[in-house]
């Protein structure tokens, strides 16, 4: 009876547990499980340690930042590093708040644009019949695999010729055509039930209404996923704004921070400001992740496995 119960229970276990458990004699399955838990905790601690270290360093008073030996816990909390960062101490012209707002504005504008264009196109690729539809779609998907470095020079020259450098257009417009977004939206829109569209058509809905009133409301989960990925990607983007922005008051937060870091590097206490900058840049993405972790984790899986 006992063995039977165990087998029944084990059947509900995930496969690796049962397989690894089968290696060990009776009863060692739970030993393995605890061992696995301990190793996972250690690995997680290892991968999070640098961020913990950055967080407590950023909250130390500047004098405590670069001590030998370093203190691994926070004894005297202080926000001096953050104040120094926002005031741009040690740097000629560092409007950090402005940079933060620049990042917010361009990331939101990009996100709205990407979601609108991708939902229109994705809906069309999923539900309309037109010549070369699948060829065009696969052309778009193929470009996801082209390394960015191959064409960034051309995009740089193109945006320069279009007079977009040192404007937010250079940050927003080139990113609007996101192949990944169209792919994700199309994969979702294919699964919507056709009856709904038929019923709406019979009720006299026009094509744009089908998109606006049927597709978009039903696509809330994928829109949320898409929006969060796009926002975080633009928020974190560093290379492209670094290339196309030269005016200091147009910088996005990452470009501004890199300039600060370059100007104050070498000085020991500068690490305090550096860690504060790293934390400041991470706050919004982390909040977004904590709110939307389910959508993000599902989004990664959709993006990879259904391809």
């Amino acid at each position: 009876m006992v063995t039977e119960a165990r087998t029944m229970q084990n059947r509900r276990d995930p496969i690796p547990t049962r397989l690894l458990a089968s290696l060990f004699p009776e009863g060692s399955a739970s030993v393995w499980r605890y061992l696995a838990l301990i190793i996972v905790i250690l690995l997680a601690a290892l991968s999070l340690f640098p961020f913990y270290w950055a967080l407590i360093t950023s909250l130390k008073p500047p004098a405590d930042v670069a001590t030998v030996p370093p203190s691994l816990v926070l004894t005297r909390p202080s926000i001096t590093n953050y104040i120094d960062l926002i005031r741009g101490t040690g740097v000629a012209n560092a409007p950090v708040v402005r940079w933060f707002l620049n990042s917010v504005i361009t990331s939101i504008a990009s996100t709205v644009g990407v979601v609108l264009l991708a939902s229109l196109a994705g809906y069309s690729f999923a539900r309309k019949q037109f010549p070369f539809r699948d060829q065009i779609f696969w052309l778009i998907v193929t470009t996801i695999l082209v390394p960015g470095w191959s064409t960034i020079i051309a995009t740089y020259v193109l945006t320069l010729n279009l007079g977009m450098h040192d404007t937010f257009w250079a940050l927003i417009l080139p990113g609007l055509a996101s192949p990944f977004a169209v792919f994700l939206f199309r994969q979702f829109a294919v699964t919507l039930p056709e009856e709904l569209f038929q019923a709406a058509k019979i009720d006299g809905a026009g094509e744009l209404q089908l998109w606006w009133r049927i597709t978009l409301p039903l696509s809330r989960p994928v829109i949320a996923t898409l929006a969060i990925f796009t926002f975080v990607a633009h928020w974190n983007d560093f290379l492209w704004p670094l290339l196309v922005l030269n005016k200091q008051n147009l910088y996005t937060l990452p470009v501004g921070v890199s300039v600060i870091m370059y100007q104050i590097q070498g000085a020991g206490p500068s690490y305090g400001i550096g860690m504060a900058a790293a934390i400041l840049m991470s706050v919004l993405p982390i909040i977004a992740f904590l709110i939307m972790q389910k959508q993000m984790i599902e989004g990664i899986t959709i993006g990879s496995l259904k391809g």
């Binding site: 995930p14 609108l116 470009t143």
Partner: protein, 314 residues
Amino acid sequence: MNATNQVNNQTLRAPSRRLAGKMTYATVEKLWGFLLIAPFMIFFTIFVLVPYGMVIWLSFVDWHPRGVTEYVGLQNYIDVVSTTVARKAMFNSFYFALMVVPLSTVLSLLTAVLIISLRSRGLRSFFQATFYLPGVISGLSVAIIWRFVFDYHVGILNFFLSVLGVEAINWLGDVYTALPSLAGMAILSGNGVAIIIFCAALLSVPADLYNAAAVDGANFWRQQWSITLPLITPALLYVIVVSTLGALQVFVPVFVLTRGGPVHSTMTVGYYIYNQLIFYANTGTAAAAGLLLLIITIGLTVFQFRRFSQVVEF
């Protein structure tokens, strides 16, 4: 077919107000299909397709923002292939990818197996989230943090070494350790996405297959080789292809931690292209290097696909 053509011919001549009424359902459908993808396609054409053509053109000319653009034939390619720095950059990018891709793939797969073997669903999603968290933090933040970790005098890594009684290592300042240090950082901080993908793949393997194999007398390793591996191969391939692409293009860590030095030991293709474009205003060499990278990546991706389809059948 003929009927549709006739209707089409009629509609072409019809006044626009009556157009919609006379067109067949299929024609309207086609028109709307194109209309709905049009906004996306305009931006896609301008900012994705046109640059493909432009980069080829740029690689054959000597381009000046406000001057004469001159055709130089293969000179840009010759410059890239013959200069020591560019060759070093190609070599370093491969060396970097070779260090990062296998180790981080194995580490993520191992972590995923461990996470999946946890009993409670709550714990599983907690750890998935924990491992993914660093993935939403910008590469710039991660690099700034690791510069502090690697610092020769006050870095936490050398502090741990000193606790163990090992002499401090000049991680970023030594020709031999700089690139491996960057690789170590990439291996430890960039696994979130891969772990999530492996977890999903491992969970999707149907349990019945193992039972059936066990009945047929297959042992544990045999089951892994014949069931788990083939079924997670698409995920494995995806992770390897994507992480190879990422590793070959590494830029931000180089920019923040070493600026290509010491003595070009961390000069990568990405940093080389950036340098050529921004500091030397050499769009030609930058474009040629970018295209060479593209050709190499395509070759590598095709090779990885072939290799995998030899090992297991999809």
